[in-house]
Amino acid sequence: MEADRTVDCVGLYCPMPIVKTSQEIKELKDGEVLEIVADDPGIRSDMPAWCAKTGHEFLGIEERDGEYHVFVRKKEG
């Protein structure tokens, strides 16, 4: 999946990936895609939860070499 911006959260634990994601998404235009790379397995549940709460669209997770690549589309407005 193609992303417009990537945030590296490898080696970081809760709450840092969520805090960083909430800050990075502000840098995107509506409809653009943010990729979050993390290795804490909590991200598999936490990122869909963050999207459900904030209204951004959860696009999916790809697992590669022990790292999770999460894709989120910034909501309109």
Binding site: C14, P15, M16, V19, S22, K53, T54
Partner: protein
């Protein structure tokens, strides 16, 4: 409807309230972890520091307000500031705490001091309980600048009654 009514309608929208009663490092970390997460999820977050929890947001050096003899004695044994907080378990005269801090650094977890700064950046509101302050002989000068409000239980109850998350730590 008056201004106050509009405010409560807005707060009912999506807010979290956390009472920080405990003055221990591990419990404070848990409180700030949840506070920063909730703020990152778009919630309005209020942390209400009371009793031993006041130590979490106290300056290391007090403001030097007037104290009774008993309060001075309490102050000597109950000193504030993040660096003085103990672990609720396995503190071992500070050895356990030092080990925990080393582990947290090793795993790149934010320190309590970093969590406090992060919470403020994310718009978390800090309130210190004036009743506990009076009991311990503390004044507004005894607190770190992040504490913006000094209030009582009614302020907390009003906020909590409009919150969907309400924790006592």
């Amino acid at each position: 409807m008056g201004k106050q009514g509009e405010n409560s309608a807005q707060e009912r929208r999506d807010s979290a309230t956390i009472v920080v009663f405990s003055g221990e490092l591990d419990r404070a970390l848990a409180a700030f972890n949840i506070a920063t997460t909730a703020a990152s999820m778009g919630m309005e977050v209020t942390m209400f520091f009371t009793f031993w929890g006041l130590n979490v947001v106290r300056r290391e050096r007090g403001g030097g307000g007037r104290k009774t003899a008993l309060q001075r004695m309490l102050g000597l044994m109950n000193r504030g500031g993040t660096r003085r907080l103990r672990l609720s378990r396995l503190n071992m005269m500070g050895g356990g705490r030092a080990a925990m801090k080393r582990l947290m650094r090793q795993f790149r977890m934010p320190s309590l001091e970093e969590m406090i700064a992060m919470a403020r950046d994310l718009g978390v509101r800090f309130i210190a309980c004036t009743t506990s302050m009076a009991l311990m002989g503390l004044t507004e000068d005894d607190f770190i600048p992040e504490v913006e409000d000094f209030a009582g239980a009614a302020t907390y109850v009003e906020r909590a009654s409009n919150s969907s998350i309400n924790l006592f730590i």
